[in-house]
Structures are given as structure tokens and as C-alpha cells.
């Protein structure tokens, strides 16, 4: 009796699976035709655009950005954008803004499911560029750019394309903004002045200790150093320590900036790292860092409330003190570089926009992106909204956001093409974009600028090392644990995870790359 029932159950299950597989093969077919048709539509729309620029079919461009929750008044702004876009390229744009922190997961689902979309934000820190290129999620853009993106081609320096290339092809458009990497520190001006601390004199971490000590002693309720798991002293002083990352910020393997031999070293084994941990641990034990730093995602609210005296900035850009002032709750800040400026692959690809393989009209998406570079009105509407509704213009030409107006991407201008198109916010000097371009042009190139690492041969080792790093790095780098005990444990686990093989592969690929590029 039991057996027969069981076998019936199995039969039914099998039946269901069969049904499922039928549906599936249906999916498979429709999938493949969709892919095929999208490929042909690329070609046809390309031709069409080339021949009859004026008579483009209406098209909606779906664009995913990593810019916090969808703005309440996005529809009004989209309408304004669309009015302009319909005239020029007969397109409309549908912007989907995903909350920070959810973006990676969201994009993974979107991409894995083969959902149709056109553009998305991608970088080395969000919606991982290399991963997506390796998995075939993005379209190669070389031809499309040549045909449809004259302004972008004109505007972006060649070095930007070099950084974005993977195996010789461009898969994303670097947004034009600050590219040079300069580690900096941000200090509240009132406190620095009060304790006679001159941030310009800082050359090493130890120089900060006396200031922290004073703040700790003299200011109740103020955290001397706003370390969180998103703001780690080590990661934000990598260039100051003279390193450039190879396969990701927390991936073992760096080269020394200025090392012509480009020898790969494990940064976690370096003296610099050990020394850094020692100082940070000392800060932690003395209470200069919050005790729960290792579980704290950010201190933005505390900064706004004036409860943080100092933070490592990460990357300096001209005019950063204006933004810093806003972040530190209206207190003036010193934002001071503490390292030389370098152009790194990682700092250029930190903000890019890619075209999806699932786009039904990639040409139009590229045309649209070209317009963002070309047309200042378009860019500024996207970033600041509509004049007198979302922002107002001051007599000196600077603009000011209107509070609670329902639209404000003024903090995310670097996600939209060419930031140098942006109007100036109140308090920003009118030369900051020129200064930024100057800084980009004058920065020294890293010896491996333009190199991109192919993780495929050491996929397992890389994943294992990543998982070890994610377990140890935060607690070590916030000073939450004793480095004398935990660092050897960490390094040992990295060894077991295969760090040596990873480093060797990195070295091999860099050597090969140098040979190929005649460096």
C-alpha cells in the first residue's frame, strides 16, 4: 500500500517535473529568440540610425543607478528630460534608482534573469564591472562609441578608455569626474584650530594621535576618529602607503607605486599594514575610535550632528571641503591631501556606465549617454531637477537645492556622464572643475594603469581569499582585536586559502600585460 502510494507520488512529481521542463524548454526558446532578435535589432537599429537619423522609432531607455531610494518627484523630472530627448533622439528615459546597499543584489537578479534594460551604473565597488564583463552581461562598446558618441570620444582622455578596457575591449563608459587618486583627511576646522593641529603637516598616521588625544580629553560626546566598517584607515590610506591594488581593494596583491619592476606583494604581509594596525589598535584602545566601529556601517548621522572630529576621506578632489562642510553638519572642515596624486585603474573605473546585453537598442542608449556629455541642460536637470521647483539660482549664478522638494541627486552627479557639466552649488568655487581636470592631467600614472586582472584561472583561490579577508579585515582594521594575535592567524588562513597562487597569477598577468603593451 505504502509503496504504491509512494510510487504514485513519484509519478506525480515526475509528471510535474516534465510539465516544468516543457515550460522550461518554452522559456529556453523564447529566451534564445529574444537574444537573437536583440542581436539583430542592434544591427538593424544601427543601420536605421545611420541612414535615417531623423526617423527613429520611439524607444524607452531603462537605466539603473546606484543613488539611494527613488526620488519622490522623479516623474516630473523624467517628463522634463523626455521632452528634450524626444526631440533629439525620439527616446524617453526610465530611471530606476536603487537604494545603496541593495544595488548589488538587485543588479545581480536583474542581470541573471535577463531582464531587458539599457544602461546601468557599474564600478569596481558596486555592480562589479569585471564580473559582469566576464559573465557576458555588458555589450562591447568600441564600435557603438565610434558611431554614436562623438562628444564622449572628444571629451574623455585616452587614459580613461585604457582603464576601462578588458582584454582590449571597452565595456563601459567611464564617467568624467575626479580620476586622480589622492588620499586625504577631513578635520573639523574649529577643533583643529582649537588644538593647534595643522592637518597639512600630516605625513604618517602617528601625526594624528596627539590631536585625537586632545579631542578625547577636551570634547565630551565627540568621536575623535570616525572609523566605521565603511571607512577603514587602511583602505583609505593605501596610496599614502604607496600601494596600488591589482584585483580589488581587499584582494591580496598590490604593487608599489613607482616600482618600475611592478613586483606583486601581499599588502597584508607588509610592514606598512602591520604598522597601520598597531596604531589603529592603539587608537581603539584609547577610545579614539568607537567601540562598535566594526559593526557600524556609517557615521553620517553622527557627522551631521557634529559628533565626529575627523575622518579619513579616501579621495581628495578640489572643492571637497564644501561637501565636507555639509557632511559635518555645517561645521567648516579642512580637507587636506596626505599623499601624492596618482591615476589608477581603480580610481578611473570607480564610476562607469555600461550598456546591457539585453538592450533592444544599444545605439540609442549610447546616443543618450552622449547627450548627457554634450548637453548641459540635460545633465543639470537630471542632477538637480527643475529650476524653482527643486533648486533655485542665486544672484551669483550658484544654485541651492530646495529642501524637501522631492528631487535631489546633487550628491550623485558623478553617476551621470560628465560631472564637469554641473552647475555650482552655493559655496563651490567656480574653478573647481578646471582644478579637477588639472589634477587629473597632472597626476602620475600608476605603473599598472590600464591593466585589468582576469580572475578566471584562480577563481577558487580568489573566492577563498576574499572570504578570509571579509572575516578578518574589518575587525583588524578597526582595531577591534589585537593584531599581535589575529594578524598571524589571518595570514595563515590566507596561505591555506591559496594566496600564493593568487599572487603568482597576478604577477604573471602583469608581466604579460607589460610585454604586450611594450612597457
Amino acid at each position: 500500500m505504502y509503496k504504491s502510494k509512494k510510487s504514485k507520488a513519484l509519478t506525480l512529481t515526475a509528471g510535474l517535473l516534465l510539465l516544468v521542463s516543457l515550460v522550461l524548454s518554452g522559456c529556453g526558446k523564447s529566451n534564445s529568440t529574444a537574444d537573437g532578435s536583440s542581436a539583430t535589432s542592434v544591427a538593424s537599429s544601427t543601420q536605421q540610425a545611420a541612414t535615417t537619423q531623423g526617423t527613429l522609432e520611439p524607444y524607452e531607455i531603462k537605466w539603473y543607478i546606484d543613488a539611494g531610494p527613488q526620488q519622490a518627484d522623479i516623474n516630473t523630472v523624467q517628463e522634463a528630460l523626455n521632452k528634450q530627448l524626444e526631440k533629439s533622439i525620439n527616446a524617453t528615459v526610465n530611471i530606476v534608482s536603487v537604494d545603496f546597499g541593495n544595488y548589488d543584489q538587485k543588479m545581480q537578479m536583474v542581470i541573471a534573469s535577463g531582464e531587458k534594460f539599457d544602461l546601468c551604473f557599474t564600478a569596481n565597488w558596486a555592480n562589479n564591472y569585471y564580473q559582469n564583463v566576464n559573465k557576458g552581461a555588458f555589450l562591447p562598446l568600441d564600435d557603438l562609441l565610434n558611431q554614436y558618441a562623438p562628444t564622449i570620444n572628444e571629451t574623455l582622455p585616452k587614459i580613461g578608455w585604457d582603464a576601462a578596457k578588458v582584454k582590449g575591449k571597452i565595456y563601459a563608459i567611464p564617467n568624467y569626474q575626479i580620476w586622480a587618486m589622492t588620499n586625504d583627511i577631513v578635520v573639523r576646522k574649529d577643533l583643529a584650530d582649537k588644538y593647534k593641529f595643522d592637518p597639512k603637516t600630516v605625513t604618517k598616521l602617528e601625526d594624528l594621535t596627539p590631536f585625537f588625544e586632545n579631542v578625547k580629553k577636551g570634547e565630551q560626546g565627540i568621536t575623535p576618529n570616525g572609523v566605521t566598517k565603511g571607512c577603514l584607515p587602511w583602505g583609505r590610506t593605501l596610496v599614502m602607503n604607496g600601494f596600488d591594488e591589482i584585483a580589488g581593494r581587499d584582494v591580496p596583491g598590490v604593487i608599489r607605486l613607482g616600482d618600475a619592476d611592478t613586483k606583486v606583494v601581499n599588502q597584508f604581509e607588509s610592514e606598512e599594514f602591520k604598522n597601520n594596525l598597531k596604531i589603529v589598535r592603539d587608537w581603539y584602545e584609547k577610545g579614539y575610535i568607537r567601540k562598535d566601529a566594526a559593526t557600524l556601517s556609517d557615521m553620517e548621522a553622527d557627522k551631521k550632528a557634529g559628533k565626529v572630529a575627523f575622518q579619513f576621506g579616501g579621495n581628495y578632489s578640489p572643492g571637497a571641503d564644501v561637501g565636507g562642510k555639509a557632511q559635518f553638519g555645517g561645521n567648516d572642515v579642512y580637507d587636506v591631501p596626505v599623499s601624492k596624486s596618482y591615476l589608477l585603474t581603480s580610481s578611473i573605473i570607480a564610476t562607469m556606465t555600461a550598456v546591457s546585453k539585453t538592450s533592444e537598442d544599444p545605439a540609442r542608449a549610447v546616443m543618450f549617454y552622449d547627450l548627457l556629455f554634450k548637453d548641459k541642460t540635460l545633465y543639470n536637470t537630471l542632477t538637480f531637477g527643475i529650476e524653482n521647483k527643486h533648486y533655485k539660482t542665486n544672484s551669483d549664478g550658484t544654485i541651492e537645492m530646495i529642501k524637501n522638494s522631492g528631487y535631489d541627486y546633487s550628491g550623485c552627479g558623478w553617476e551621470f556622464g560628465n560631472q564637469f557639466n554641473a552647475k555650482f552649488l552655493k559655496g563651490q568655487a567656480s574653478n573647481i572643475w578646471d582644478e579637477t581636470v588639472k589634477l587629473n592631467n597632472s597626476a602620475e600614472g600608476s605603473p599598472i594603469l590600464g591593466f585589468s586582472f582576469d580572475p578566471e584561472p584562480v577563481k577558487t583561490e580568489l573566492a577563498n581569499c576574499n572570504s578570509v579577508v571579509s572575516e578578518y579585515s574589518i575587525m583588524l582594521e578597526t582595531g577591534s582585536v589585537d593584531p599581535d594575535k589575529k594578524l598571524p592567524e589571518f595570514l595563515n588562513k590566507l596561505k591555506i586559502a591559496g594566496v600564493d597562487k593568487l599572487l603568482a597569477e597576478e604577477q604573471k598577468q602583469i608581466d604579460q600585460w607589460k610585454k604586450d603593451n611594450g612597457k
Binding site: 504504491s4 502510494k5 509512494k6 504514485k8 507520488a9 510535474l16 517535473l17 510539465l19 516544468v20 521542463s21 515550460v23 522550461l24 522559456c27 529556453g28 529566451n31 534564445s32 537574444d35 548589488d104 543584489q105 545581480q108 542581470i111 541573471a112 535577463g114 562589479n128 564580473q131 559582469n132 559573465k135 557576458g136 552581461a137 568607537r290 567601540k291 562598535d292 566594526a294 559593526t295 546585453k357 577563481k459 577558487t460 580568489l462 573566492a463 577563498n464 576574499n466 572570504s467 571579509s470 572575516e471 578578518y472 579585515s473 574589518i474 575587525m475 577591534s480 582585536v481 591555506i496 586559502a497
Partner: protein, 306 residues
Amino acid sequence: MFKKNELIKDTIKNKGLLLLAIPGLLFLLAFNYLPMVGIIIPFKSIDFAKGIIRSDWVGFNNFKFLFSSGDIIRATTNTIISNLLFIIATLIISMAFAIMLFDMSRKAVKVYQTALFVPYFLSWVVISYIVYIFLNPDMGILNQFLKAFGSEAINWYSEPKHWRFILVIASLWKNAGYYTILYYTALMGIDSSYFEASDIDGATKFQQIKSISIPLLAPLIMLLVLLQIGRIFFSDFGLFYFIPKDSGALYPVTDVIDTFVFRSLKNNPDLGMTAAAGLYQTAVGFILVIVVNKITKKLNPDLAMF
């Protein structure tokens, strides 16, 4: 053949019953059975350009990749240990509470039930904040106590040794009320004449519990335990992710398969490996349920699920 006919006949006879089941079955088909095609993903090297269906087959590579690090073993151990602790602790505590409640006036039941059940309404995100109120290294209540008694404050989020216990407490805090109500409702369903008869026989409270309440609750206990064992390889993601605040120092005890997968996916997005981990969880859980059910059937056929 004859049996098949009989089944068909029976089904036709009871077509009204089948009709009742159909909407539910359709939902199952749409949201549970159709997605089962995903079983192929772990055996593929996903290339988005080709789509999932046409990506290349890679055999067991994704599984090799998954097991190449010791972490999955640690996560498996943590998952099983934590879940076993949860199952045992909830079973004992909520059985005990249900039996205690059963003995009380309606008014008292209402009060206790409300109190016990309240935490169940809170999401893990909220509970993580409650736990944080207690464990915050600077302002937390436990450290306030420790300091008041002259002990050293503990940095809870970097001391793994306390966390098995903390997780069990958190799980109990949230779930004990739920299970208590389940058992209590079942007790209410027991024919009161059993208790009346035993009262007349002069049975003590504990005799009643032992010989009436527990045996009559056994099917429900079995059902719940079996269901939980089937999911022993899965864990309540919110509990293990939000409560320890994803603190790396705690991974040695708090990292379970689900959080491991989530983290791997974040650090190194790889659908194939994630899916492999999912299939590993599912397959082992499936086998466990079959085994437990077999054993149950041997011991007491009435208690088996199928």
C-alpha cells in the same frame, strides 16, 4: 491497473475536494514547482550573454568550487548545531509553557499569551536593534551592569564564545510564543473527558501531563520536529545576519550556510556556486527528512508524515 482505476474513481467521486485544492496547487505550481527548473544552474557555467538555458554545462565544478574552502564545512556545522539547539530549546520551553497555560484561567492565559507572543511580531531587523540595546559596547545594558558590578565591559560583537547562547536566546525570545500557542491550541483540542476521567481516578497533575497531554501532543510534536529537521540545513537568515551585525569576528560561530552564501555572492558574485550551495542544502535536507520519516514509521507508524 485495478488500483489506478480505483484511484481515478475515488477522485471523480471526490471531485469537490479536488476542486478545493486546485487554487492552492496552482499557486504551488507557479511559485514553487516551476522555479525548480533552477536545479540545472549549479551544473552550468552561467554566461549571461547566452542565457541560463544555453550556458555551458560544467558538471560538478561548482560543487568542487564550493567545497574548496573550509568555510562551507564550518558553516554547515554551525547551521546544524544552532538548529538542533533551537529545536530542542523551543520544544522544551514551549511545551512546558503550553502545559502551564492549559492549567490556568482564561484571563491569565490571555495575559501571558499576549506577552509571550509579542516578540513574534517583530522582524529580525527590529530585534537586532533590541539585542544591540543590550550588547552595545559603550551604552549597552549588559555592559552597564558589568561595569556597575566592577567587571570588565565585554566587547560582545568580537567575542564569539558567547554567541551560541545569544543566538539561542534570541531565537527563543522570538519564537517560543509561537510554538507555545501551537501546542496550547492542540491541548485545547484534546477531549476534556480524558482529563475528567483522570481527575476522578485521582491522577496528579504530572501524571496527567505524562500520560495524557504529551502522548496526545505527540503527533503535532512529531510534525513540527520533522518539518524543522527537514529545514535543518537552512537557517533563519535574519537571525544569523542581523543579530550578530555581520561581524567578522563572530563568523566562527554565527556563520551559517545561508550567510556564507550571501557573503560569497556579495564578495564574488557567482550564481553557479550559490546555486550549488542551495542544492547542497536542499539535497541533504531532503535525505534527512526521508530518513527521519522512515525511523518514525518504524517506531510508530501513526506519527509518520507520509
